[in-house]
Amino acid sequence: MKNILTVAHYTFIEVYRSKIMMSILFLGLGLILVTYIASEFAYGAPAKIALDFGLGIMTLSNLGMAIFIGSTLISKEVEQRTLYMILSKPISRISFLIGKITGFSSVLLINTIVLTMLSVGVFLLVGGTFQTLILWASLFSFIESFLVLLVAILFSLITSTAMSVIYSLVIIVVGHSLNETSRLVFAKMNPFFDTVVKIGHVLLPNLYKLNLKDFVLYQQVISIDYLANALVYFLIYAAALLIFVIQLFKNKNLD
């Protein structure tokens, strides 16, 4: 546990000081400014527009970081040989991997907290009323980016960095559209397509469940059962994915 925290601590410092982190944060802040300007032009519903923009930007910047840094988090260490210096010390590969994931997840968490505070700030500034559901939406955005991080690491262990980015993007798009696809008449009428969608439901993360923006913006209520179910589903999914990534990394030839 001590080793995991040590790796996490220095991973956090390394990512925090990197230009990628700074540029994404500046992008986030710039887009928050755009949000404020957009809400000024939205006659009648400026608060909704501000919140919609704010939550959307937070999700995009979280996903951007998860994909682009996640794809290089381990592969860059192998290419640059930095991981040899660490793995030659008395630390297991599992502790190293979990430490790297923990360290980078803490960067994602801080990004989520900062951008949520900024989004809520702008939202309140243009006359919105605070609701707890916004915090749930932020939490789910963090969970989504954590899952995508694991997916990006998984692909980076079996393919190149560029392909890992592309595959992770595909997973995000498919993960968000699985629910809607299964509702299509074509899918229901075609047994083969229906089976493919069902298999997709089992294997791929149903990211649609994590998108609470519609509830926050329009319905403003959500059952606690839905939240609890979604949370349990993603915790189990993340645990399974993590075990798979660990097994891959444990047996990987670091040539």
Binding site: I13, Y84, I86, L87
Partner: protein, 286 residues
């Protein structure tokens, strides 16, 4: 202390390519307290073997065995090893001190002791002035020095160094060699690779030489030199105010010398002709 048993390793760079044999049935051992030079040309398989030793890469067949003194579990074994990879790239956004704290903490060194070790080693390796600077501002040689400190900060029993002298200026090379000798005198076993024969000849007692993945020689440098020496002597003397040089065989040694003494010439040098390690390695390769 470390035993390599019939290690073989192949690589396949592309799906359609034929397999390339990087190591072919390599077996040798490193004993406690030895300073062993690991020689081979670029691409001979030195780094691959070191990666297998460190369990970064797995062999197709064969195994590396460690003595009980190094520990029972893989983590205990690693705690007793200090490793420096070839051209170590370090975390560019950390400072030198942070990097050493990172690796030192993983070795379980206490905070105060770690700080004292960092200060003393940074001074010894002449990077104390830059220890709080970010690593991306370090020169290649400074990064090599920092990596070297990291490999020995936990006082390991064995040092595994992959081309530790590359990228260093002549003074740096001399410093490194002196430190390696000093550490070896303190009882630390050292195994280091190099493709520069003179470096190995200067400080090692034993040499392991591989070529195209195959073990060519394992043993003492003196034995190798003796085995490959001609039985020839060089005699230099002054006669009639002129310096003369004679090359004679072992069997003619006494006769020639007594003849020269009878002629009352001034003999000022008798030397057995001995090729250096580089010449021998070149001869073996041919």
């Amino acid at each position: 202390m470390i035993q390599f048993n019939e290690i073989s390793k192949t690589f396949k760079y592309n799906f359609w390519d034929k397999k390339f044999k990087a190591l072919d049935n390599v077996s040798f051992s490193i004993n406690e307290g030895e300073l062993v030079g690991f020689l081979g040309a670029n691409g001979a398989g030195k780094t691959t073997l070191m990666k297998i030793l460190m369990d970064f890469s797995r062999p197709d067949s064969g195994e590396v065995k460690f003595s009980k003194a190094m520990g029972d579990t893989p983590l205990e074994v690693r705690a007793s090893i200090g490793y420096l990879p070839e051209k170590a790239y370090l975390y560019q956004h950390l400072t030198g001190r942070e990097f050493l704290e990172y690796t030192g903490r993983l070795c379980g060194i206490q905070k105060n002791e770690l700080q004292a070790l960092i200060v003393s080693w940074a001074e010894r390796m002449q990077i104390a002035h830059a220890i709080d600077r970010r690593i991306h501002g370090y020169s290649k040689g400074m990064q090599q020095r920092l990596g070297f400190i990291s490999s020995l900060i936990h006082q390991p029993k064995v040092l595994i160094l992959d081309e530790p002298l590359s990228g260093l200026d002549p003074i740096g090379r001399k410093d490194f060699k002196n430190i390696l000798k000093e550490l070896n005198n303190q009882g630390i076993t050292i195994f280091f690779s190099s493709h520069i024969v003179s470096d190995v000849e200067e400080i090692c007692q034993k040499v392991v030489f591989i070529e195209k993945g195959r073990l060519i020689y394992e043993g003492g440098i003196d034995e190798l030199v003796l085995k490959n020496s001609d039985d020839r002597y060089k005699i230099r003397y002054v006669e009639n105010e002129k310096i003369e040089t004679l090359f004679i065989h072992e069997k003619d040694k006494f006769e020639t010398l007594s003849n020269l003494i009878q002629r009352k010439v001034n003999i000022f040098e008798i030397e057995k002709e001995k090729p250096n390690l580089e010449e021998i390695i070149y001869k073996i390769k041919k």
